[in-house]
């Protein structure tokens, strides 16, 4: 790679590892977003509609999740809760291979993190939908679920697409924390390369490039969704 400044001799050596890491990152990201979103929607909604106790519960959840560092959450889930499982004899069961691995814990932690942050965003988004449009949906006899699916949710999302894109990119960039619980995704591999070669910028630049390739399509997809319905601007 003489055409590009810097030291790149290590790429062939680490290529398979990087590929594995990339695949892990993608799995982590997609699962966390999908699971997280499906939690975030009810969490946001219930804070607008009530009932009160559930709303408080949701608010409390968002506060705790947003209020404590993800690293600590990961740590508590994996080393805290996770270390009890063998004591309960779960290491004798078929579940053990899953409970032993870091990946499920990482997915769990990232999902609730997405749920907490996006839940807050969705609360505002649901709240911002004009009341009249919901009434129109009610007035034709739609069930609450139909209202949510056909009117409330799409209208709410429309107003926060740019914010959501940001939250998802933040999730992507939180995935490196998974390496603290033995899930070495692509960034973790990058750190590994840095530690082993003491090269500073080259591995980081490669990681940056990979992240750009992951975030780019995400941004484009949401841009597309955002622009699908024309908006009148003044």
């Amino acid at each position: 790679m003489e055409w590009f400044p810097g030291e790149w001799y290590w790429i062939p050596e680490y290529f398979p590892k990087l590929l594995d890491g990339l695949w892990l990152t993608i799995k982590l990201l997609v699962l966390s977003i999908v699971i997280g979103m499906s939690l975030a929607i009810p969490i946001g909604l219930v804070q607008v509609t009530g009932p009160r106790p559930l709303a408080w519960l949701a608010k409390g959840f968002c506060t705790v999740i947003r209020g404590t560092p993800l690293l600590i959450q990961l740590w508590l889930i994996y080393y805290g809760i996770g270390s009890f499982f063998p004591q309960w004899g779960l290491n004798e069961t078929f579940l053990w291979p899953y409970l032993r691995a870091g990946f499920p814990y990482a997915v769990f932690a990232f999902s609730i993190s997405v749920a907490g942050y996006v839940g807050e965003v969705m609360r505002g988004a649901f709240r911002g939908v004009p009341k009249g449009e919901l009434e129109a949906a009610r007035s034709i006899g739609m069930s609450p679920f139909q209202i949510l699916r056909r009117v409330w949710l799409p209208r709410a999302l429309q107003n926060v697409f740019p914010t959501l894109t940001g939250e998802f990119i933040l999730t992507l960039k939180a995935t490196p924390l998974a390496s603290t619980i033995t899930v070495f995704e692509v960034y973790g591999i990058g750190s590994q390369i840095r530690q082993e070669t003491y090269l500073i910028y080259e591995p980081l630049l490669l990681i940056a490039l990979i992240y750009l390739c992951l975030a780019g399509p995400l941004i484009m997809m949401f841009n597309y969704l955002e622009n699908k319905i024309p908006k009148r601007v003044s």
Partner: protein, 262 residues
């Protein structure tokens, strides 16, 4: 439900008894009753802020009444009492009722994320479970009737006031409800279209549907309605066939109101 009093008149489609509604301190409706048969066209007139919209919105439970009774085709809405209003206790029933009660809102309330066509077929497809093809066919008819066929793929934000109002009417018509609640459905329309829409309403009444309409079109109230209600500060001041309300009102307030039509 056992508690239900059997309706005393078979063709009474909609019956409202002693409806009260207050927002906090403000008593908006102070006991309004109404009874409409199949094919009736009931027009409500009254000053701005007298509670006309609130009354319509109470009928399909978008606002929860403080007290009163609402019956559709002899079946009463099941209520339980809540903190500061009645609360419907049977969600399914409410949905079923609403599907039969078409509503055209004063402020249109079109779904902004859907085109006109999508707005119109939404109810038939999602609530009435019609096939999309069937819904599209009906929608085409209706949109042609209100002169919006050309605008079918436009989003509401890019349409004129009158076009939006017609889209809202089309959306309600597409549900083919047995009772229609119109809240000033011609306010944004030019005289030609007003005539068109009123014709549509009349023809629906002839099909046997029941129309409840809030309007400031006194001409229409006088010519077409079977019953006129004059609402004044949340109370029915005058009620009866148009001839009585317009030509021979008992209430002084009402006389003044109907005479003010220049």
């Amino acid at each position: 439900m056992e508690r239900e009093i059997p309706s005393n008149n078979d063709s009474t489609t909609l019956e409202v008894n002693g409806l009260h509604k207050s927002y906090g301190e403000l008593d908006v409706l102070k006991g309004v009753s109404l009874s409409a048969q199949e094919g009736d066209v009931v027009t409500m007139i009254g000053a701005s802020g007298s509670g006309k919209s609130t009354f319509l919105r109470c009928i399909n439970l978008l606002e929860l009444p403080t007290a009163g009774e609402i019956k559709l085709q002899g079946e009463a809405v099941e209520f339980k009492s809540g903190k500061d209003s009645l609360i419907p206790s049977n969600k399914r029933q409410v949905e079923r009722f609403r599907a039969q009660l078409g509503m055209v809102f004063q402020s249109f309330n079109l779904w902004q994320h859907m085109t006109v066509m999508q707005n119109v077929i939404e109810g038939p497809v999602q609530v009435l479970k019609k096939s999309k093809a069937e819904a599209l066919e009906v929608a085409e008819q209706i949109l042609n009737r209100v002169g919006l066929w050309e605008k079918r793929n436009e989003y509401p934000a890019f349409m004129s006031g009158g076009q939006q109002q017609r889209a809202a009417i089309a959306r309600a018509l597409a549900m083919e409800p047995s009772v229609m609640l119109f809240d000033e459905p011609t306010s944004a329309l030019d005289p030609e279209l007003v005539g068109e829409v009123l014709k549509v309403i009349q023809s629906l009444a002839e099909e046997g549907r029941t129309m409840i309409m809030v309007t400031h079109e006194m001409k229409f109230a006088r010519d077409v309605s079977t019953q006129v209600i004059y609402l004044h500060e949340g109370i029915i001041e005058e009620q009866g066939p148009p001839s009585q309300v317009f030509n021979n009102p008992k209430s002084e307030r009402c006389k003044q109101f109907v005479q003010s039509v220049h």
